[in-house]
């Protein structure tokens, strides 16, 4: 066991954690909006819109995240037309490609979580709102959304942890996130166990924090019935 290597690699790995956290937070925020959008589309009565939203979540949940990143990073650059538009500024950066892929992926999972949360809202709440003459827009923003958020907290907490692990795939498109730096140190020192303990420890610490924050939020805002 090379304790010295563990100590010397710790600051490097901690530095890389910042990129991991950046990737995670940006894609979670964007993904939440995408998820909310598609969850609303899923509840639409129009069959075509409904099918479209279902197809989106089916494709993104049925294929590995790695394929999605590769299609966006390696694949989209192949379309000549895209290279002439302003989108190319975004798509040639691995950082933005990773964020697009992560956001679309977590968006698909979030839409499923929110959809099931919306569907479990008791119809009585909506009927009560309607009979009190509250406009449907306000019923949606003030009644449906808050209840749905409360109900989806535990499942969404899992999704955050899955996404934290998902950001490790950014290292496959040359980004130096926590896993990327860990791999670099392993391949230069050939000491996989030591690096795994330090990098894995940092990941576990983050999972632990996320888990407890969600638990706290559940307790504070949890749904009492």
């Amino acid at each position: 066991m090379d304790i010295e290597l563990m100590i010397s690699s710790f600051p490097k790995l901690l530095n890389a954690t910042l990129i991991t956290l950046k990737l995670l937070s940006v894609s979670l925020i964007v993904g939440l909006f995408i998820g909310l959008g598609f969850a609303i589309l899923r509840m639409n009565n129009n069959k075509l819109i409904n099918k479209f939203a279902y197809g989106y979540s089916y494709i993104f949940r049925g294929t590995p995240l790695l394929v999605q990143i590769f299609i966006i990073y390696f694949g989209l650059g192949q379309i000549e037309y895209l290279r002439t538009t302003f989108l190319w500024v975004v798509l040639k950066e691995p950082y933005w490609c990773a964020i697009i892929a992560f956001s679309l992926n977590t968006g698909a999972y979030t839409s499923e979580i929110l959809r099931s949360a919306f569907q479990t809202i008791k119809p009585g709440y909506l009927e009560a709102g309607r009979s009190l003459g509250i406009p449907s827009k306000i019923i949606f923003t003030k009644i449906q959304i808050p209840i749905a958020i409360k109900q989806s907290l535990p499942a969404y907490g899992n999704e955050i942890i899955l996404m934290l692990k998902g950001t490790s795939l950014a290292s496959t498109v040359t980004l130096m996130d926590l896993t990327g730096v860990a791999k670099y140190i392993i391949s230069t020192t050939f000491k996989p166990v030591e690096v795994f303990i330090v990098a894995g420890g940092i990941y576990l610490f983050m999972t632990f924090i996320i888990h407890n924050v969600i638990k706290y939020l559940e307790k504070k805002y949890g749904f009492q019935t």
Partner: protein
Amino acid sequence: MELLYFGDKGWGDELFFATLMTIAVSITAMIIGFLFAALFTPLKLSNNKVLNSIGNAYTTVIRGVPELLVIYLFFFGGSGAIMFVASIFGYNDYIEINAFLTGSFSIGIISGAYSTEVFRGALQSIDMGQFEAAKVLGFNKYIYFFKIILPQMLRLAIPNLSNVWQITLKDTSLISVTGLVEIMRQSYIAAGSTRDPLFFYSFAAVLYLMLTFLSMQLLNRLETKYSKGY
């Protein structure tokens, strides 16, 4: 479409065999995962504090650390560990482990952590009376476990195990980093030599969708078969 021709002209046969490889790795990993689950589920349910915390450590660490990091650990560390053991027995040559074994083993450990949680949950939701009744009636251990507990447990576990299967199937894409030629690796090679990454990665996505779709159909059938009432 010419790119998908079988034979020397296209990549059809290569991708076909790569798909078989993905299926083979997934099934092997799933079986290795079951072995791990069989080992760790009793630990997690044990009343002994030491055994219990070993079981908890396994599921917490594996489920809290990215799959890619676990794969790197076994990819870079696997042959080192085996060479170390071999050197104790006086064998000092370089040993290289097969990419298939490393891949299946690392994915298997991950899938085992999820399976352990599924089995634990299923065992815990069996009515206590079933255990007690089986004991009171004086069945031997074989009948107690295989004829009374296991059938009830499987029935509760199968829906969640099909989720574990989906996760495992998708995780196998990650072992392409170790050089094992499965769908992702083959698409990478094909994309590199034809300079057509968009087509090949999209086709890989279609292959994965087909695999998840077909396995869902099969597993749903299994689920209805086992969820019949008694």
